[in-house]
């Protein structure tokens, strides 16, 4: 199912003018605060009526100002998970969960109560009142409530932003299950690279009310120039690699990249499983010859594909390692001294590998399917 958004809307000082199309399973609207991503998701949900434009899901137009069409929020059949859970304080957890189901036509109900409860691990909370839940529990119930209305699309507006790191870590696996075990397409607003690179299949990068770039996660993550300033250090390449084997002697796991093997601390994954790793640009050094006597284990040969614009003292290089794209952030001085240019063969020395998740393409059957 394809989501098409093409809208123009003025909100205070922000001129929102966004167009994107995504068929991704989890599309992240990503960008700094004030870039218009929350307004955009509110427009998709029908909570804001855009001045002009279209919102189309599959073949159903929700907004088409040219044709005078605007479907009100309650008739859109989209789920919405807010940053601040927004559970109904006067209802029990169970009544909260069942609220949306009530308004869903019987023939369109696909979400199974027991399975959703089980997936989110909220079975023991059913009789409680929202006031007695922790932040993480509230957010899980909010996700369940949206899901049990059997939505055609699930919208999530920074569902983790108001939680501390421990609570984020608690919810993250549930979001991954949501993505992997259901077939509801998700639109996810976030300003955190860690969240987006771990969860998203596709990214729509927002900047100043405009769509700066849109595409698959691995591609967009390399565009360091687009990242919000406070997140640039986290930017880099996202690769999905296969586990080749485990090296029990040193407690390492060997992953297969296109240009060679990568060794990382032992992962508790089966051989053959896929793992998503993130290699930050600041963690990649460039060598013009294969380095000797180096403690870094991971050195991949590659070719400079692209040299970004100079930004102060720094510059970003994109390396093509036989198809796997890496990003390296080096100083302008190194660029000059090493005489680096597009097309030159170099070696990428990777200092650290960040694991956003043990990304499991386990091939499990989807728990929920939307048409």
């Amino acid at each position: 199912m394809t989501l098409l958004v093409d809208v123009r809307h003025r909100l205070g000082a922000l001129e929102l003018e966004a167009r994107f199309e995504s068929a991704g399973h989890l599309t992240a609207l990503f960008g700094p605060s004030g870039s218009g991503k929350t307004s955009l998701i509110n427009i998709i949900a029908g909570l804001i009526r855009p001045e002009a434009g279209r919102v189309v899901i599959g073949d159903r137009a929700l907004v088409d100002t040219a044709a005078g069409k605007f479907v009100p929020a309650h008739k859109r059949r989209l789920g919405f998970v807010f940053q601040d859970a927004r559970l109904f304080p006067h209802l029990t957890v169970k009544s909260n969960l069942l609220y949306g189901r009530w308004f869903t036509p019987r023939s369109e109900r696909y979400a199974d109560f027991d399975r959703v409860i089980d997936m989110l691990g909220i079975g023991h909370l059913l009789a409680r009142r929202p006031a007695l839940l922790s932040g993480g529990e509230k957010q899980r119930v909010a996700i369940g409530r949206a899901l049990l209305a059997s939505p055609k699309l699930l919208l999530m507006d920074e569902p983790l932003a108001s939680l501390d790191d421990a609570r984020k870590a608690e919810i993250m696996p549930y979001l991954e299950r949501l993505r992997d075990e259901t077939r509801v397409p998700i639109v996810y607003v976030s300003h955190s690279i860690a969240e987006v690179s771990r969860l998203a299949t596709d990214i729509v990068m927002m900047s100043n009310g405009k769509v700066a770039a849109a595409g698959p996660t691995a591609e967009i993550m390399q565009r360091l120039d687009l990242l919000p300033p406070e997140e640039v250090g986290e930017g880099g390449a996202v690769l999905d690699l296969k586990v080749l084997r485990h090296d029990e002697e040193f407690g390492m796991t060997v992953l297969g990249a296109a240009a060679g093997e990568m060794r990382v601390p032992r992962l508790s994954l089966d051989v053959g499983a896929t793992v998503r790793i993130r290699i930050r640009a600041r963690d990649v050094m460039i060598a013009t010859e294969r380095p000797q006597g180096l403690s870094a284990l991971n050195v991949l040969p590659g070719r400079i594909a692209d040299i970004g614009a100079v930004n102060g003292t720094q510059v970003d290089l994109r390396l093509d390692c036989r198809g796997d794209m890496l990003v390296s952030r080096i100083t302008r001085q190194s660029l000059k001294t090493l005489d680096l240019a597009v097309g030159r063969d170099v070696f990428a020395v990777i200092k650290t590998v960040a694991f956003d998740r043990a990304n499991l393409s386990r091939g499990t059957a989807p728990v929920l399917t939307s048409d």
Binding site: G79, F82, F88, F103, A131
Partner: protein, 231 residues
Amino acid sequence: MLDLTPDEWNAVHLSIKVGLWAMAASLPFGILVALLLARGKFWGKSLLNGVVHLPLVLPPVVTGYLLLLSFGKRGPIGSFLAENFGIVFSFRWTGAALACAVMGFPLMVRAIRLSIEAVDRRLEAAAGTLGAGPIWVFATVTLPLVLPGIVAGMILSFAKAMGEFGATITFVSNIPGETQTLPSAIYTFTQVPGGDAGAMRLTLISIAISMIALVVSEMFARKIGQRMDVE
């Protein structure tokens, strides 16, 4: 002690009946007007607000006289209701209930309005995204959240009715068994020699009824509060 004469019992009974009717009959209008004042955007909103609050600032006798002019037998509204629906207010207990309802109305509207204004509208938006249309949102989210304010408004209206004197006696006079509520009965006792004992008996009953109403409302409020515990 509670050796009441039939007339005195009548006054007690009538007061409670008038109070309950005044409260119940004005409730739907109270909610509607509170909703309009809290949420509505229309021309003449301050005018409506002013009219609703008039009974609070006018001398009760003036309110009673205005009721007499409009709802009396020859009044435009009174004659219309009498001819078309057979509803008569003048010199009936229904008139006493109307006077009490009008006097208590601003208090009721204020309590409900404040409570509506305190409702988190983001919860209503959330209900909308779950498929609830405007009427369902109101019935399943707004109304339950406003319930404490509604209970408070009802209690205030009832309490006002129990104490209403000026507008009632001006509008429907002081007829034992028909329009003589507790305050009117006490007033009558104070006007005749040797009426002290009777006045005292009714005064004690007045106090008891008010206390019971307060306690019951407190219990209600606590129960609702426990259920909600809004963060």
